[in-house]
Structures are given as structure tokens and as C-alpha cells.
Subunit: 289 residues, 2 copies
């Protein structure tokens, strides 16, 4: 069944302890890292989010050196692949109470590059709104933790390979993002990019952070705010982001079509290049300033 | 690290696949089963809840015969112990989308009987209200699924061994139950037992079900309703239930004391006997009718 290389606490193996709290309770975090030219991309962004997660869950964080070494080891000779890191609270007994001195489990997986149609980058994607809603949980909002049944239920809603993604709303009707991506909404003659506030639910994506930090350099104001489906209906354009897809323009949401030509392609192309860098803030391949 | 016997898909082992969706996403369910006299207790109640869970998550359910056989095998020669069953969607790839034909993983664990102080049954327990709130997620409410970070955070709030449990409220202030137990609230001269509605969050406990089905036989009306901390402050008494503890009267909630003598002890003793039966509805040791 296991056709992907796995390192558990630095050891090549295909299994984890049945008493691991990741398996028992989803008591842990993960990161999904793109690898280009044999190097892990957006490394600092992934580490930054992981650190916020371990702080919130009170997990001891392995050193960055150790994580980078094991990440490099799982990449091996591959030039382009996906590395997934799972970090859990480690072995535990039966109850919810965490062990006093947890010994976290580190698992690195290597997967092949996903085979999404290439024209989704240029021509854009078709998406629909999911029936599954996200619950408000401010204590866990933003984190990429292992409790992902909501995303599993949402992703189970469609099998049509022509549909790229599903948008998820919270129970009050605010749009939060895709099942595996963050959403950006363009308005004001392409000068404002809004993305949902993620203080109650949702995952703070690495590319989302990259955009929020750098949009101003392209004359675009990027803001976090509550967004509703009516805001999407009135938008000039939409796009989705994550560390693997980079940017997917949305050409259709349900019955509504969008002209992907109205998106700020200079900026989007900068993002697409930046997400292939280990540290895009040191080396900005096509930044204008 | 693993000092508890484990059966994974019928095979004695200490590990599960690192690509198991239980580990990846908490994509599965569990049951915690008391064993008395070498027999699993409340078997039908546990199976009933598990079936509701597999229906909701669209998992294939292993046959009851197979589950009972493996449960009996893990019990072995033990007379009194705890069996935990974890049922996941099995091996999967990287994405949230479930495999088309999942092959669920069954894991049975055997643990020693918990060593709670014996006088908690008679003299009652001290509990506090947790700061961690439960999120509303109607699609998963009631199920004993593997996404349990909220309970982990709540149970992390105290280390005082004299505190037995923490009560959890939802974000709107409704009391939902304990981190590992259900709550009952006595009123109307011990003729009404109310327990929180669990249509938005919380876990439908096996003993909770047993009480809702049988209270009328003791002249008590048992109802599910929204309850607030103010209802608890005005109550004649409170108690907590789960399959292992049976019934714990509450003698103190925060600053407020309760007279455990006002609880309907005939009924509570019936429950304590019933939770030691494999099928309490066939053999009701001390039911009055």
C-alpha cells in the first residue's frame, strides 16, 4: 500500500506507533511543501506557521536544523516533488490529557508532483460552493492541524475531475476559502485584493502570507476581511492559492463566469516565481522595487 | 513505549501505516469499552454509535461478528480492563479526497482499568468549567470521531488530580458536557433529568443513551435541551456519566456545592449495575418493572 518514501523520526519506515496521539486524536500539525530544483520552497513560511502551531498546542518544536536535514534527506535526488511533514505530540496513553514531557513524532513523506491540468494556471479553474460548512474555533483557527474531517467531508462532495476546488463557508455564511487553498477577491479596478479573515476558522496558507506581505510592492492593497458570497458575485476576479498550485485564477464559480484577463498578471506571475524559491524574500526574481 | 496489547486488522502489532488517514486527518471513529467479568459492556450501544458514525463518514463498517471476535481476542484472559477500538478510513494518498474503495483499519487496544479514587462514586467529584469552548459542527455532532484537539486543549487546562473533570461550553455559552463525560442536571424535586442537546457538538455517550431510554421506568422524565451555567446553578444536583466511570455525582462545581444526597440513588445504582452488562436491555439486574 505504501508507495511513497517515509522517514519517521529520521528512520526510513512505513509505520507509526498505534499509540501515537496523531492517530488517536489528530493531536498534531502538518505542512505540505513544494520542492523545485531539489530545494524545499517557502521554507521560512512553512517553519513560521509550524512554530505558531506548536506554540498554540504546547508541543516542543524540533530544531530547524533537524527538520531541514530530514527534509533534504527525504527529497534525495528528486528535483520536483512534494514533501509532507507531520508533527504530532508523540506516544501517549488512553486519555485526552497530554503526557507531561511529550516526545513529538516527526514524519516526512515524499510524493510525486500533482498532475493538475496545466491550463488551469492560465485559463483558470471551475469551482463550486461546498455544502459542508466550517465550524468556528478561534483557538485553532489558522493552524494546519491534523483535525481535518471537515475538509474530508467537503472534498467528498464531488468526483468530477473538471471541478478544481470547492469553496467553504462558515456556519454564518462567511466565505473562508477552498478545501485546500486560500481565496483572493479582486476589486476597485484591480487595486484591492481581499482575502477572508481567518480568526475563527480556516488555514493561513504560506502563499496567502506571501501575498499579504508583498502586494503593496505591485501597487495593490491586500486586506483581510469578512467576505460573503455576494462579495464574490460582485468581484472583478477571484483566484486560489496554495504552496503546490501557486495561483489558480477562477474562471467559473457555479453559474457565474469571471474574465481571468482582469487579474493583475504581473503580480500573479511574480507569485508563481516566488513560490518556487526557498526564501522568496531574499531572492525576488521579478519584483519591481 | 507501547505497553498495551494492540491488534491491527486482527494482527498483534504496535504500529499502523504512516499513510493511514486516521493519522493524516483524524479520518475515523473510536469507542472506549468497559470490560467486566471478561465481557465487553454496553456492546449494542457502542455498535449503534459506531454505525451512525460510519454512515455519516461513508466508511464501510466491518461486520459485528468480526468486531466482537477481535474484541474478545484482545480481552484475552482479563476480567476487568478497558478496550479501545479505533476505526479509520485506512490507507490513502496525500489529498483530502477519500479513496473510492476505502479499506478501513481496525485497531483494538487493551488498557488497565483507570485508577480513579473509589469515593468519587459515592462522595462525588469536584469539577470546574473549562476555558476551551466547543465549536458548532452539526455534521459531526454526537459522533465519537478522531478529531479531538478541542478535548486535548480542554484537558490540558488542569493538572490537579483532585479535580475530576472539566465542563465544556459551546461558543454561545451552552453547556455541552465534560471533556470525557456527559452531564445530567436534576430538577423538579428529582423528577426531571435534563442533559444537553448534542445536535451541534458533543459526543452522544453510551450511558447517556441508556439513561434517556430507561429513566421513565424510575418515574423520572429525561429530556435533551439547551442548558446554560445558570441552569446548573439552580439545579438540585448534577452527575456525569461515561462507559468507564458509570456515574459520578458532582459535589462541587467551581465555588458551588451540591448535596449529592438529593440525587435519585435508586436509579443511579441501577445505571451502575447496567453499565457492567453486555446487553443491559436484556438483563436489567435491578429494574423495578
Amino acid at each position: 500500500m505504501m508507495d511513497t518514501p517515509v522517514l519517521v523520526d529520521g528512520i526510513p519506515t512505513a509505520s507509526v506507533g498505534a499509540n501515537d496521539r496523531g492517530f488517536m486524536y489528530g493531536d498534531g500539525l502538518f505542512e505540505t511543501i513544494a520542492v523545485h530544483d531539489g530545494r524545499p520552497c517557502l521554507w521560512g513560511f512553512h517553519l513560521g506557521r509550524l512554530r505558531k502551531g506548536v506554540d498554540r498546542l504546547c508541543l516542543p518544536c524540533p530544531s530547524e536544523d533537524l527538520l531541514f536535514r530530514e527534509c533534504t534527506e527525504i527529497i534525495g535526488e528528486q528535483r520536483r516533488c512534494v514533501v509532507k511533514l507531520v508533527l504530532t505530540r508523540g506516544a501517549g496513553g488512553r486519555g485526552y490529557g497530554p503526557p507531561e514531557r511529550p516526545s513529538p513524532t516527526r514524519v516526512f513523506y515524499r510524493y510525486g508532483w500533482p498532475d493538475h491540468p496545466l491550463d488551469w494556471q492560465s485559463a483558470g479553474v471551475r469551482v463550486e460552493v461546498c455544502h459542508t460548512r466550517l465550524a468556528d474555533q478561534p483557538l485553532l483557527a489558522g493552524l494546519k492541524h491534523l483535525n481535518r474531517l471537515e475538509q474530508v467531508l467537503a472534498r467528498s462532495e464531488w468526483k468530477d475531475p473538471g471541478r478544481a476546488e470547492g469553496l467553504m463557508c462558515d456556519l454564518r455564511g462567511r466565505v473562508i476559502g477552498g478545501t485546500m487553498s486560500n481565496l483572493f477577491v479582486l476589486s476597485d479596478s484591480a487595486t484591492v485584493l481581499a482575502t477572508p479573515l481567518l480568526d475563527r476558522c480556516g488555514i493561513r496558507g504560506t502563499v496567502r502570507d506571501l501575498i499579504l506581505k508583498n502586494a503593496h510592492r505591485f501597487g495593490i492593497s491586500a486586506v483581510e476581511k469578512d467576505l460573503y458570497l455576494s462579495d464574490l458575485a460582485e468581484a472583478e476576479g477571484l483566484f486560489l492559492t496554495n504552496a503546490l498550485i501557486g495561483v489558480w485564477p477562477v474562471r467559473q464559480l457555479g453559474e457565474q463566469g469571471y474574465d481571468v484577463g482582469r487579474l493583475p498578471h504581473g503580480f500573479l506571475n511574480w507569485i508563481r516565481a516566488a513560490v518556487q524559491e526557498t526564501d522568496p524574500e531574499i531572492r525576488n526574481p521579478c519584483a519591481p522595487c
